[in-house]
Amino acid sequence: MTPFELWSTVVIFGPLLASVVALSARPALLRAGLVLGSLSALVGSAGLWRAVILYGPGRHLLGGWGQPLGIELWIDGFGVAMLAVTALVGALTSLYANSYFGDLSELSVRESPAGRGARFFAPLWLLLWTALNGIYLSADLFNLYVTLEILGLSAAAIVTLAVSRQATVAGMRYLLVSLIGSLLYLLGVALLYVQYGTLSLEGLAAIGPSGPIPAIALAAMTVGMAAKTALFPFHAWLPPAHAGAPAPGSAILSALVVKGSFFILVRLWFSVYGGGSPEGLVLLGVLGSGAILWGSVLALRQVSLKRLIAYSTVAQLGYLFVMFPLLIPEPGLWNADAWTGGLLLAISHALAKAAMFLAAGNMSYAVAQDRLTAISGVAHRLPMSFFAFGVGGLSLAGLPPSAGFVGKWLLLRSAFETAHWIWIAVIAVGGLLTIAYVLKVLRYALDRDEAPEDFRPVPRRMEWAAALLALAAMALGVRALELVELLLVGGPFPW
């Protein structure tokens, strides 16, 4: 049993077993489920990180068959980095949820609708976690489809846990988009299997797909995954869903879930298709730029806190797609700066966005409202949440020494090297807009000197979870070199 085999089992099936505990056991054991899931994800991803640094990319032949007959797990730097950030965000969000949903041990399925929803947060979230970890390690087209469906169903269900009408409508729309997106992906899988007779990513990469059928397949899968990632023209479902979910759900959805389908897009376009077509890459970059500008402008116009953060997610996801055209400046070459820069942005966005959503959850928890006008003065009563929001926002905007800064700097450098001035302009303008909408929130929070009247104290753990995430986003910049080293194991073209 190699470390790859051991730790990949722990990281995928730990959360799955934890969801079994959370689902079937007494409510008193809900907390045990969350702890078990968090621990196994943290330990497993740490073990894999170490193994990847020591031995390079590894694999786990599930069932002992190996591709093309069976399913393989493929463990490289990209996947492990995503696993690790998921584990960190997930563990802290679980800590937050444990306080947010009240006393978990008293939740019963016979209770009010809200209580029933809270009762099922832990199992749904742990299943979602399993699916994310499964995606980051999968090396099989159809296996990715199944994990995507777990992800989509549990994510939509988490949105509807917030019982309001808006959340229900948003969850329905999210589920429909998610299902259609998965089916488009499945269509692509079917076409690729028809053409090449294999489902293994590695096998396909060795063949090098080209021709009309693989092109249609890639287009279908890209549209499906872009819809699930809320890339610019398909972004309309995201803000209501992410803003409507309960606070820990918002953090999970915005920080982690959209990265799952983004990960698949990267794997498909680069690892399998070897870059696809240059025109396609530029198109994705253009859509990403559109997302940056449009999302930021809309975020600036929002009057409710969680919606503002949700639109900011639309914008920040755009940066990840700007990476696509920069990664391959000319055929046969790939730009390491673009690769590490883009992925660092994805990672730091996960940490910063989770911190911001949790901090926003604290503020609206305290004042029972989500209007920006309602949180005025809240900074004086919730300094730690205010700090978390601010630090997270600055990390998003790319101020040093945050990880966002390192990521943007690497991305800009790769654009400079290849003299892509348009992308540089987009990145710069997007950064300015980010600062503007973060400052808008901070200004409201600092608005008055006295604290709001109808103020409810926030449990300490909820404040700590947000603050720790924000600190992690900032500290990541200081230790970015280690992450860069990790991300380069395997690189965009592992096979």
Partner: protein, 346 residues
């Protein structure tokens, strides 16, 4: 003979496309649902013609049976809601909310172009020899089963099947998390059903169903059959029993039910982990253990799937009455956390 076969295939295909088109374009919900069930049965015939009896079994039981029953059940809830004889967009969609016609036209044109392109590409696809089917056939003896589909599902690609159960469990947990008006289904426990005809049918059909399910689980390793088909059959028996008032409907409130739902998945994972120290890989069955382990997992899954499906069918579709506690939550705020703790201090 082959000409007749071709004619048969052509009729099945035409029927399929006609059913699909009509059911997607009609404005009457009930018609669409009945056509959907008919479509599922026709599709099952298509699988038979394509030489895939495994799928035909699953399609008839799950695609047509369980899914159709879910739709019927939901229709019933809507009909209850709108009351007698009333016309409502719930049941008769007049299309007034559909997107504008320029959108439809554009999308329709795009879809037709895409269809022509894909059809042309697939018809002209190069016929490179496939190696995987031969590989699977060659290594099937190592899997411990003789039905190649079962071999793929539970050995070669057992991980996919495990995650597929996780999809079912995720849907179940999601459904449980929705509020339900807990409308009781069928009769109360113990109360005899006064309909002797239904009772007689139940007494005949349920044993046949259960025997068939056990047979399908057992035979799944060599012939078409397996946990999913058997599980959905058992679910059919369960639905019949609850409808006739003989069994109480399973609900999320009962811990044994939740344990059974999660149990299949847990057993599968634990089996996969148990072999890890012996063989070093997840779900890599040790020499000679493949057949008993697969059979055990299939039996466990059959029960678990049956419970999930009965529960999905019986307990889901309820349109709850408006709940004043819910309506009072400020939708612009952070509803859930505050609502949950509302009792404490505010």
């Amino acid at each position: 003979m082959t000409a007749l076969g071709l004619l048969l295939d052509a009729s099945v295909v035409l029927l399929l496309v006609a059913l699909a088109t009509r059911l997607l374009l009609t404005r009457h919900l009930f018609e669409a649902i009945v056509l959907f069930v008919s479509y599922g049965l026709t599709l099952s015939l298509a699988w038979v013609r394509l030489g895939a009896p495994n799928i035909a079994l699953a399609e008839a039981a799950l695609g047509a049976g369980v899914t159709g029953a879910l739709f019927l059940n939901t229709y019933q809830r809507l009909a209850e809601r709108i009351g007698d004889g009333a016309k409502s967009p719930l049941l008769e969609d007049d299309g007034s909310q559909d997107p504008p016609s320029w959108f439809k036209g554009l999308l329709g044109g795009g879809v037709i172009l895409l269809g022509l392109g894909a059809g042309w590409a697939l018809i002209g696809a190069g016929r490179r020899p496939a190696f995987l089917p031969h590989e699977i056939a060659a290594r099937l003896p190592e899997t411990g089963v003789q039905n190649p589909v079962t071999g793929v599902l539970l050995n070669f690609r057992g991980y996919d099947t495990l995650l597929e159960i996780a999809v079912l469990v995720a849907a179940m947990a999601g459904v449980w998390s929705l509020d339900r008006g807990s409308r009781r289904f069928g009769r109360a426990r113990g109360e005899p059903d006064e309909d002797p005809v239904l009772h007689a049918l139940t007494r005949f059909a349920v044993p046949v169903t259960v025997v068939t399910a056990v047979y399908l689980t057992w035979v799944g390793s060599t012939e078409p059959g397996g946990a999913f088909q058997a599980g959905s059959l058992l679910a059919g028996a369960g639905v019949l029993l609850t409808v006739a008032g003989i069994l109480p409907p399973p609900t999320a409130a009962s811990r044994p039910v939740r344990a059974m739902v999660a149990g299949g998945m847990a057993g599968f994972v634990l089996a996969g982990i148990a072999v890890l120290p012996l063989t070093g890989q997840f779900l890599h069955y040790p020499e000679g253990w493949a057949y008993p382990m697969i059979l055990g997992i299939e039996a466990l899954l059959t029960v678990s799937i049956a419970v999930v499906l009965v529960e999905l069918f019986v307990d889901v579709p309820a349109v709850p009455e408006p709940d004043p506690a819910l309506e009072s939550i400020d939708p612009s705020g952070d509803p859930l956390g505050r609502a949950l703790r509302g009792g404490e201090d505010s």
